[in-house]
């Protein structure tokens, strides 16, 4: 979370990207010079199914304002079935966060193939804007980690 008095709120977005599709998609949007905000920081994982709900909560704890998970399109998983498990896990996790009153627009799953550089950039732009509108994450932050 970075707040600058003169500027608008700059949310911190953590993006988990699977190595085979989405990380390559992110690379492609770089190769094609398709801009998206610096707010987005990518963590590479072998498959979206590697992402433990604990990682997502950890990001919010440490000051992230939005967390997005990107994986191969259903049916295209490098490991055949990983993203199907991801889909169920994240659907349930996000639903639980929503149930606890955490803003649902702070979390998202998006399928981005290695060829979809444009989609990756567009998704990140859109998601960053959505989180920016929500303002800083207050409901799932750890006050001890807030920057003085």
């Amino acid at each position: 979370m970075q707040v600058n008095d003169n500027k608008e709120f700059q949310p911190l977005i953590v993006a988990f990207c699977c190595n085979w599709c989405s990380y390559a998609g992110a690379d492609l949007s770089g190769t094609n010079r398709l801009n998206y905000p610096t707010n987005v920081k990518i963590i590479r994982v072998p498959c979206s199914c590697r992402v433990n709900p604990m990682f997502i909560l950890r990001a919010f704890q440490r000051g992230a304002d939005g967390v997005i998970l990107c994986g191969c399109h259903p049916g295209d998983c490098h490991y055949t079935s990983g993203n199907y498990f991801t889909r169920r896990r994240m659907t349930l996790l996000f639903s639980m966060l929503d149930f606890l009153g955490i803003e649902r627009d702070r979390t998202r799953v998006e399928w981005v193939s290695a060829a979809e550089g444009a989609k990756f950039a567009a998704t990140m732009n859109e998601f960053t804007e959505a989180v920016r509108k929500l303002g800083p994450n207050r409901r799932l932050e750890d006050l001890r980690c807030r920057k003085q």
């Binding site: 000051g63 750890d142 001890r144 003085q148």
Partner: protein, 339 residues
Amino acid sequence: MLKISLDKLGKLFEAISASQTLYIPTDREDGAAEYKKYESGMKLSNNLNTLRSAKDFFFPQTENLVDFKMEGKNIEVIDVREESEDFVIFGVRACDARSFTILDKVFLADPVDSYYKNRRDHGTVVTMACTRPAETCFCGTFGIDAAAPEGDAACYSDGESLFIEAHNEKGQKFIDSVASLLEEGDAAKLDEVREKTRDILKKLPLANLTTDNFGGDKLNEYFNSDKWGELSQSCLGCGTCTFVCPTCQCYDIKDFNTGHGIKRFRCWDSCMYSDFTKMAHGNPRLTQLERFRQRFMHKLVYFPANNNGEFGCVGCGRCLSKCPISMNIVKVMKALEVK
């Protein structure tokens, strides 16, 4: 003795809270009582006792000890201690009042725990005599008179008025600060109320429980008792008993990395937990039996051994109500006593 009419209790609270922070037991939605910072209109609970004990005021569940600020490879130590403000805890029962004496023996003995002492020095304990003890009460076992509580000052109710009496200088200072609201009253009726309470106490199911068979010299008698296996067999190893206990005082010190520094804090620990007192070589008490035994031996044998015969239990009965499997110190005492 000074008194105030019960219907003016609100005014009394307003007066106290005007000069310092006041905590009173109040009912929450689920019917349980808990200490809350007094705000206008808050009602004093009619419950016998609070769900959590009053020890939090002096020994909170978590407490920051020191901060370390980290920038790159540099570390700076920041002392986070601040002088506490004065506060009053009102309506403490006799059992909880005694628990402070027990905690004092741990935290105020050399070396003095400055964090504890800071709060203890600034806190005034105003107790309230019990009139409707519960079946789980056994404070009498430890020589506590529920009808005549300790504390800096004590309150008694005769149904119409609240009588206040100071036990020490701090208590007197407290009474002086609200003296304008108080009037001199006839405390004669109080003896009757006390006797009535004591009669009820005698009739309670646990009235005959004594500590006669326990004390600092009983280590060899009980440590290897074959009763521990049966007593501990269904213990879940949770910390409920220790966390609702007013006298349990074990804590752990941990570091939390905030990303830009370290917060070193302490938090309550439970001897029922599998990693309690874990050291470099591992854990000294590996089975739940040993951990279970530790808790009760501590309260009934080790603590009196080190504290002139004072037991580490005040008979408040919280663990009797709250243990998920209803195992508790009373059952342990009764089982161990049978030869």
